[in-house]
Structure formats: C-alpha cells, structure tokens
C-alpha cells in the first residue's frame, strides 16, 4: 500500500524550467506598457527559486506566464522541454488569496485534481490522506474552507497542488496574508515537504528574509521595465531553522539583497 505514495515521491527527474527572452507588454490608453523585458533563466530540477522584488516589478507576471494564465508578447517558456501555452496540472499554483473552492470540503478540494484526471477512488484516498496527514489537516478533512484558519487554508492549497505531483510548484506570495508566527511555521513546513519531494519551486515574494530562508537562489528583480537584475546563490546550510536567521552569513546576505532592492524601490517610487 505504501508503495504508491513512495513511487509518486520518488519519480523526481522532472522540473526543468527554461525561460527564454520573455517579454510581456500590454496596451493602456494607446500606449504600450512594458511589464517584463527579455527575462532569461534556467532552473534545474528540484531547485527552490525565489523571485524577489518591489511591487510592480512583474514578478507575479513571470509566474502567470509560466502557469499559462497569460501569453507573453515575445519569448518562450519550456517546462521539461515542453512549450507552455496554457495552464495544466503539471504546473501547480498556490495563490496569494485563499482559493479553496468554498463548496468543497478540505478533502474534496485536495482530491479535485486527481478526480478530474480519473484516478481511481482507492488511489485518490490513499494519496489525499497521506498529504492531509503530512500537513496536519487530516482531522479537518470534512470541514469547509470558511471553517478553517488562513494558515490551514494555505496548507490545503499547497497539498492540493502537490497531490498531482507537478513538475514545478508556482507560489505567488502564498504566506503574505498570514500573521508573522503562522508565516514562520508555514515556511518551515514548506521546506520539510520540499526536502522530501524535491519538486522544483518558484516562489514569489517581496520579503527578503522569507526569500533567504527558503531558497537556493534568489532572482532579484528590477523595475521599469521589469527584468532580472541579479541572481544570488543562497549558500546557507540545509535543513534551515528559524535560529539560522541570526547567523553572520544570513545577515550579510540580507544586507546585500537589501541594497539591491532599495535601489529599485526608490526607482519605482520616483516613477509614481
């Protein structure tokens, strides 16, 4: 019985993401606004990447293009060598807003993707229950979303994406609406799950500490037009714990990133 779960956890050679010359612009009042200009990067399977930048730098736009929600003006996205042009279950998405379907219980929400793909009931329940247990939601499996706290809803959203074993997990400021304590717990939980699954993660945030704590690499983004300004390797040891936030290495990285972001934030404020 346990073999099924193990199998789905083992098969990790997927999750190779390539973004080539990606530009996004749209027309506003007859003028074209460049949201993103020639963004290039490659992500290896199993990497945890943060897109970090001030608001308006287009970091969520990159995520939306990779998800297939919006079409780029030029350039391409490939996931596992396949061209991305529309949303699919191999790119899981966790939204900033609470996005569980209000008319489904926690269990039904997590099960939804598997059910759509016609996975047999017994397999579904094994997988869903495994993940519910993994994030401590098993006893809330029959609750409706409005009966859950914000942190619980986001945990359910994360496993709703992961249960489909996506090549890449896209996370758009998923913890931004949570209080500081809950946010820390969620970050630690996310890292433990990720270290088991080794799913490629692209995580959008504007919080420097969050980016440093979570990621292998940070892509710091600039504004006007949105682009990747610098790629920073986060060399902090794993597994990471909250007390690591006080290490000298962490503090010096934090300062370095802070300076980069500060420049861009000032630029974006001037333009407004």
């Amino acid at each position: 019985m346990a073999t099924l779960v193990e199998k789905t956890l083992e098969q990790r050679v997927r999750g190779f993401v390539e973004v080539e010359n990606l530009s996004v612009s749209f027309k506003r009042k007859g003028q074209s606004v460049h949201v993103l200009e020639s963004v290039n990067f490659k992500i290896e399977p199993g990497e945890f990447i943060c897109l970090l930048g001030p608001s308006g730098c287009g970091k969520s736009t990159i995520l939306n293009v990779i998800a297939g929600f919006i079409q780029p003006s030029s350039g391409f996205v490939f996931v596992d060598k396949r061209h991305v042009d529309s949303p699919s279950a191999d790119r899981g998405f966790v939204f900033q807003q609470y996005s569980l379907l209000p008319w489904k219980t926690t269990y039904q929400n997590v099960e939804f993707g598997l059910k759509i793909r016609g996975v047999p009931k017994a397999k579904r329940s094994e997988l869903v229950n495994y993940y519910l247990n993994r994030v401590g939601l098993f006893k809330h499996r029959h609750s409706y979303p409005h009966q859950l706290s914000g942190g619980m809803q986001q945990r359910a959203s994360i496993i709703r994406a992961l249960v489909n074993s996506p090549s890449v997990l896209l996370m758009d400021e998923p913890f931004a609406a949570l209080d500081a304590q809950t946010r820390h717990m969620m970050q630690e939980l996310l890292l433990t799950i990720w270290s088991d699954l080794k799913t490629t993660v692209i995580f959008v945030t504007h919080d420097i500490e969050e980016a440093l704590f979570l990621s292998d690499k940070i892509f710091v983004m600039g504004v006007n037009p949105g682009r990747i300004k610098e790629k920073i390797d986060v060399t902090l040891d794993r597994p990471r714990h909250a007390d690591g936030l006080l290490s000298p290495e962490f503090i010096s990285l934090n300062r370095q990133v802070f300076e980069l972001i500060r420049e861009e934030t000032l630029k974006s404020m001037d333009m407004d």
Partner: protein
C-alpha cells in the same frame, strides 16, 4: 495554532490541564449565553405576536368607526367578518380550492425553475447564446401577467394551461435573471484554480461555475415562488370553478366582500409558506452556507 502532528505529540501535561480548564470555562459561558439567548428569543416572539395583535386591532377599530378620511373603510370588511367568512370557507370544501391553486402555482413554478435555470446558465456562460436570446427575453420581461390574459386565452388549448402559463411568467424572469448574474459573477481566481488543476470546460462548469452561481439561483427561486403566487389571482380570472384566486375574484364580481380579504390573506399565507419552504430546501443543497450562518 497547532500545525503538524509531530508538534501536537510534544504537548506537555501542563498544557493539557490548561486546555481542560479552558474547556470548562467555555462550557460555562456557553450555558450563560444560551440562557440570555432564550430570554432574547422570548422577547422577540412577544414583539412579533404583539405586532399582529396591533395590526388586526387597528384594522377592526377603523372598520368599527367607519373611518373615512381620503381612505374609506366603510365598505372594508372587518377582521371579524373576515374570520366568519374564513370559518364558512373552511367548513365548506376548502381543499378543492387550495389544491387547485397550489397545483397551478407549483406547475408554473417548476417549469419556470427548469427553464429559467438552464437558460440562465447557457446565457450567462456562452456569449453567443446570450447574443441570440437575451434581447427578446428582455423585451418580454417587463410585461405584467395581467397583460398576458388575452394572449393566454388565445394561445393555450385549455384554460388550465393558460393559468399555469401566467404563474410561470411570474416566476420565470426572476429565476432567469438571478441565474445569469450568478454565472456571470464567477470568480476569475477560482477559474484559474480549476485550470491549473487540469480541469477542462466540463469540470470548470460543473464544479466551479454552477456551484458558484447557486446562492444567486436560490434567491431567484425564492423570489420566483413569491411572484408565482402574485400572479395567481390574475391567472384564476380565467378559472372556471375552483381556486383561491378564483374565490377572490368571484366574490368581487358578486359584491360579497369578506371572502375577498380572506382570499387575499390566504394567498399571502400560502405564498409566504412556500417561499420559506423553497428557501429551506435550497439551503439544504448548500451545506457550505448553512454552517456559515451558524458560525456567524
């Protein structure tokens, strides 16, 4: 907030004691609250009964004094006369009339619900269908049931089907419009959720659009049920012998006033009761909303 199951295993015995104490306090305050809730409820029931007593009392007084200042109560049947008419009606053969009316309203309402919901979903979801049928429907919508009487007589083979058509007209438009609004207001976020879980059109439709529209559809059904009863008197102008609306209209024609008011009140009562029943039934279909009310 407890998160992983690992964490809860670590809970110390002291913490357990603390939570037990907290539970006791909660239980106590809950009992207090339920006692004061009971009082509040009693006061509420009392006020509502009083409102009815005042309503009928003032009406009786206006009739007794033959009130006549712009509005004339001289010929208005008093509550006592209405009560006498009611007793007469009830001891006669009331079920024949009630049944006839209820069947008409229920048939009209059921057809309206089926057509209104399915057309509403199609119009709300498919732009082309909206282009093809929405304008003619908008043109028909403001026409009141009374104006349909001549055509109902001309178009339908029996007066029974004509009457059902008139009650249908009353219910159809509110159900249609609410369904369209409900479908159109589908949350883009939830559509995206479905897409990146691999949902194709059918699943998005069945699991996201339709359940999302259900609260709107439900309020359309409640309003539609009320409107169906509105249209009953109009419909039963066509009636041969039975129906609550028929009694009301017939009594007017024969200048027998008390049964008119009785018929009006009876229609009000049955309309309110059936609208309430529709409300309850639709709530049963949406368990995720009932619990919302309770927890609020």
């Amino acid at each position: 907030m407890s998160t992983s199951s690992k964490r809860s295993l670590k809970a110390s015995p002291l913490a357990k004691v603390n939570t037990t104490i907290a539970h006791c306090f909660k239980a106590l305050s809950r009992r207090d609250r339920s006692a004061s809730n009971q009082q509040k409820l009693n006061a509420q029931v009392f006020r509502r009964i009083l409102s009815l007593v005042l309503f009928f009392g003032i009406w009786q007084l206006l009739c007794l004094n033959r009130f006549n200042f712009f509005i004339n109560f001289e010929n208005v049947p008093s509550p006592i006369e209405v009560a006498q008419a009611t007793v007469q009606f009830v001891t006669g053969n009331p079920m024949k009339h009630i049944q006839a009316s209820a069947i008409r309203v229920l048939s009209g309402f059921t057809i309206a619900a089926v057509l209104g919901i399915s057309l509403g979903i199609l119009i709300g979801w498919f732009k082309k269908i909206e282009d093809f049928i929405f304008l003619p429907l908008e043109l028909l919508r403001p026409i009141p049931a009374v104006a349909w009487i001549p055509l109902a007589i001309l178009m339908f083979p029996t007066s029974e089907s004509g009457m059902i058509y008139l009650t249908f007209i009353g219910a159809f438009f509110p159900i249609l419009i609410s369904t369209i609004r409900g479908v159109e207001s589908t949350d883009l976020l939830l559509l995206r959720v479905g897409q990146c879980l691999g949902a194709k059109q059918w699943h998005i439709f069945k699991d996201i659009v339709v359940p999302g529209a259900m609260p709107n559809i439900a309020s359309g059904l409640v309003i539609g049920m009320g409107n169906s009863w509105f249209c009953l008197v109009t419909a039963e102008i066509l009636a041969g012998r039975y129906g609550v609306g028929y009694i009301t209209w017939e009594s007017y024609v024969t200048s027998n006033y008390p049964p008119i008011v009785m018929g009006m009140l009876l229609i009000g009562l049955m309309g309110a009761a059936s609208a309430y029943a529709v409300d309850r039934l639709t709530c049963l279909l949406m368990p995720w909303r009932i619990t919302k009310k309770k927890s609020a």
